[in-house]
Amino acid sequence: MSLRGVETLQVRGLQPEEPPDSGSSYSSSESDDLEPEWIDSVQKNGELFYLELSEGEEETLLSFNSSLPSINHVRFCENEAEVIEESQQKRDKKVEPRLKIINKILKKKVLTQKHSIKKGSGRRAEQISGPTSILKHESSLKSGVVVQRYRDVCLYVNPDRLPDSAGQQLCLLQALVGIVHQTSLNSRRVEKQSSDGGPVSWNSEEKLVVHGLVPGSTAIKSGQIMIGDALVAVNDVEVNSENIERVLSCVPGPMQLKLTFETSFLEPDGGSQFKYKQAPPSMNNLIKLLWGEDNSDLQLAIQGIPHIAMFLTLKLDSEISKEEQEILYQYPVSEESQKLKSVRGIFLTLSDMLQNLTGGRIISSSLILNGQLCHVAYWKEAEKLFLISLPAESVPLLQLKNMVADVVQTLKVMYGSLVSAFCRVENLHRLDHFFSLFFLRALQPARLNEYADLSAQQYDLSSRLFLDHTPGVRWLTLPNDIKIDIDTALSDLEAADFAELSEDYYGIRRLYMMLGSCLFYKGYLVCSHLPKEDVIDIARYCRHYCLLPLAAVQRIGQLVIWREVFLLHHCQPCMEGTTEGYREPDARYFLLIVGLKHFMLCVLLEAGGCTSKAIGNPGPDCIYVDQVKATLLGLEGIDLNIEERLGAAASPYLSCADWFLPSSRDKLDSLTTSPILSKFQMSNKGATSPASKKTLFSDSSSSLRTRKPSPTRNSGGSENSIEGPVDGFGLSPHSTPDLARKYYRRESQGSGGSDGSGGSGNIFKISRKKHTLPNPFNFGTMKKNLSEKETEELYNTVKLTSGPGNTLFHYITLETIHGIFISPTHRDVAQLSGSIHPQLIKNFHRCCLSIRSIFQEAMSKKTKKIPNIKSHSETRKTSSSLGLIKEHGVLFECFPENWTDQKKSPPTMTYWVVGRLFLHPQPQEFYVCFHDSVTEVAVELAFKLSFGIAT
């Protein structure tokens, strides 16, 4: 008889696909008691994905779980028993790495089990667990008559809250769980029961039959434990009257216990089918997915939707002809995907033939499948073809194209190349996990992220359509002082000056060099010391594994991710002509992500180059993880400040679409007295006072208000300002030479007519760049003093639109050069809850998607045209259609969706969605949504936004 391992959620490992390295890492964990919890989760190839929620979150999550009963139906047939066994064995593998504390105490037993796994030969024989052993015994019975029913009940227990008075005599089963079992009295009954239902192995110990429930205990509260049930296992550890106290005493702290009860009942022969539901459907699907638990209920939801991802090869080995040998990888293997799989000949033929004929790579196809339009997007590389197909109604073609590019990029970052990703056997499970996440994200995004706030969730869903595949990360502008603090903290980390990391300390070369780091807070990028390409690659990875939304919604107890990454930016051979100069070292790169509460700090490490070369597949180094964690802990105080920023009024101001409906005209009239606007006016008043720091913004905002209402003149003004965009900003003394050069260049382009020369540059944010100045502050001074709060408020109240009222509904500005975008925060949008506002935001993002695709198309055409411009200028001119599109605006009319009044027609509101593309001085895209009543010049809005707020 062996123990199957105790699942504890406190110590929860990831990467379920792969059994843990049972050899070396395990033995090392025995020897060192101080090492971190995640060490057991490190895989053979050095990768680590370890996630643990904070305690509070877990309790709510788990209590939710336990409210839903999970029922294991088991039918006793010889052949089917085997199926069960296998699935349980799979579960074993998952469970094992998670235990730690209990594990150690029950070390011997677990060890024998581990060895048996390693041997693999006697696997089934030694994998006897409670239920299976019963099955073995029962298999001699006639099939389909007696059905043993196993039921898992999850209870949250807290040994710290044990009533002390009860003392020793009260057994733990009673005190902790609340189950009363009377040992000696019912021995005969138990004997009887075990003789027909239980395993023979329970000879001396008796079965734990529930004889009563303690009032007020967790057991009675759950309502799922019945008197007469027999407790057979706790967290998959088989229990009986002899060992139960010992097992329960191992519960280290507040945690979830899974109690397995057994009840016998009869079931009619006919309808009994093998059912095995492993995990209870839980609210938080994302967590479960990331933990890699069974997600069959989620998969079920997308089952009816045709979708497939395939990796095909065009080059076939003619020697060995095998069925389906051209398929190198495929996900999912389901009925719906079968049809798409069967027409792979179309994909292969088309991609090959059209490329030969026209010289252009294949991009997309459209198919009608069971009356449903599906799009296929391809990625062709060498002789390999990667494709994804999704129905048009869930994913528009434009987005699908972006998605494929995104997936390919992510895979390349994770595995180096598509071939190495798909063609290695050991990656198969990881890819399955990857694509199951991908399809769930694409088809059922609502099921993955549960925001507490409904409007925030709606916002997230609608913006995801557009923003998930733009080359940018959501950026949160922060007041300067906070930024400096964060910058300092990250720089200190990157300097790697701590004793353990210094080369002198140990006299050996350090393992890694920190190339840079970036910090996320609740999914917003707040600070980055990495080149744009790396930030985007990292963000792509995080987005794919839903880490950004995860951090936004939940408090992470601990997150440690370690993996080798292949950053294209670094791995690419150097540009021609730079052979003499600097070359990227021939190095390997590792990504370390450590998450704590709402923070996530991503660090890019380099091995090779100036540090020692990485050999094999190194796992995460504790020292580095600890240092990153320490940095995060040091930043802990700052989250209050960031929260404050998030909670502050939106900057620039946003209006809710509902205010502009004619029916709510009265509301609009009273807009002046609305709290937000009055706040604005107040702050505006404050702005006129000549505080040194405020000058710049008071200038811009007050001039904004007093500006002449004529839009044409406005536009003239904006043209000027675009010419010399930085004239108004004094150069900050903190700026690095790099920055100075950048603005010099801009300045030289400008015309020079500056009007706000007095403005101090302090407000102008420079800290996105690495700043090299030594900072006198340390973590202790990160608390902000009050006087600066005012500046922040002022800073936050900038109106973007012209005209007397604020007509701005939404905006996105995409700064390709920095790889970031700025848009209103979730909280900003949540504040503007209205009936048509969510509709507007959804439409806005959809429109942005199409506008952006137009921009992209126009740009690609332009670049294509350049080489031909001399020879074919005439013909080119005639064949070009729209040329380079720089601005695109669409006028929409909307009305409340559920308008019940039959007599009156619904009130309507018209608004513009305008996209604007800038190529100079740096590529920028800007999307804005505003009410029709004011003529806006997109250039001007963009200017105000990007130079006034974004920077």
């Binding site: 790579r361 198919l367 009608i368 137009i854 380079l884």
Partner: protein, 361 residues
């Protein structure tokens, strides 16, 4: 038409059952002759998918688009285009127009029940001119919008009155006055024809060889795809025709000798004026903003449109910045395509499209 290599559009028509090519037409560079193997595999993948109940409709590469369309399970049309501004919308409409042009000329019956492929091939030659007119870069927008192009004449009421009387005298309700393939005026019944029919008839008349009068059998693709009607056309002045759609009577001879002279002789001047206004599509008396280089105005209810790229009366030729006519046309068409495919996917809403050129840089 001189094109750089790789630019072009080719159209292939095959029978769905056997995959026998019926004809292939093209414009521009590639596919002046698409290799037979390519035609074969293009049709092959479509048939392969069809057998597995997966209908392939479109594919695009970096520079080429291919669109498949199957009609009545009997005719397959494939178009392959490597032109920059050919969109899926345009190609789909093109195929639709081409098929209905085939119906217009040879009738649906012969296309659905193909008995003799060789004979069908021969018959289809009659519609080459019409199909080619869709393939050549045109000054009209009807092929894209599927709404007939119109001309707003100076003396609309007079012409309308005369046309009504003339049509009535020719024992018909369907009469139309066309100037270079654009409808000047038409009887009420004519507008009741399906929008595509009105457009196809206008293009048909424009594509036929110059003749003073014609008696041409047409199958209306939506109204009577199997029973032919007679389309009588009479040239009033070169470029301006009056058309009547009628049954077996009256004879062409009778209408030409007795009616045309009588009704249209007095209106020589207004008819000639139609030609003058034809390029701009509407009289110069309409005030229009200086900045508008071209416009496309569509009446979605009656399915007719006004399309011009010479909106300004006296174009200042000296200004080097202004776009050439071809550029304007391409821009306007591209803008229409963009708007319709992105923002008006379903046939609803009554947004006015136009004034495009002023918004673009």
């Amino acid at each position: 038409m001189e094109e750089s290599g790789g630019c072009g559009l080719s159209l292939i028509c095959l029978t769905a059952s056997s995959g026998v090519p019926l004809y292939s037409r093209s414009r521009g560079g590639i596919g002046r002759q698409l290799p037979f193997s390519v035609i074969g595999s293009l049709n092959g993948v479509h048939m392969f998918g069809n057998n597995l109940d997966v209908l392939l409709t479109a594919t695009s590469t970096e520079n080429t688009r291919v669109v498949w369309k199957s009609f009545h399970d009997s005719i397959n049309l494939i178009v392959m285009s490597s032109e920059v501004d050919s969109s899926d919308l345009y190609l789909n409409r093109l195929l639709d127009n081409v098929f209905h042009a085939m119906v217009l000329v040879v009738g649906l019956e012969e296309l659905v029940n193909i008995k003799n492929v060789e004979r069908l091939k021969k018959d289809l030659r009659a519609c080459y001119r019409l199909i080619d007119s869709f393939l050549t870069v045109s000054e009209k927008s009807g092929d894209l919008t599927q709404c007939v192009d119109c001309v707003v004449p100076y003396d609309g009421p007079i012409l309308q009155e005369c046309l009504d009387a003339f049509t009535h005298a020719a024992e018909s309700n369907f009469g139309c006055l066309m100037a270079a393939g654009r409808v000047v005026v038409a009887t009420e019944k004519w507008w009741r024809l399906a929008a595509q029919e009105v457009m196809l008839l206008a293009w048909l008349v424009a594509s036929l060889a110059l003749n003073s009068s014609r008696d041409y059998p047409v199958y209306l693709p939506h109204g009577s795809p199997t029973v032919p009607h007679r389309l009588l056309t009479f040239q009033l002045v070169p470029g301006v025709d009056v058309c009547v759609l009628c049954g077996p009577t009256p004879s062409l001879q009778k209408v030409e000798t007795e009616l045309v002279e009588r009704y249209w002789r007095p209106l020589q001047d207004p008819v000639k004026a139609c030609l003058r206004v034809q390029l701009r599509s509407f009289p110069a008396s309409f005030p229009l903003h200086q900045g508008i280089l071209g416009l496309l105005l569509i009446n979605r209810e009656q399915k007719k449109g006004v399309y011009t790229v010479q909106a300004q009366q006296a174009e200042d030729k000296q200004q080097g910045v202004s776009l050439s006519l071809e550029q304007r046309r391409a821009a306007l068409r591209a803008f229409y395509t963009l708007a319709v495919s992105q923002y008006f996917p379903s046939e609803q809403g009554d947004e006015k499209k136009g004034k495009a050129a002023s918004k673009l840089e």
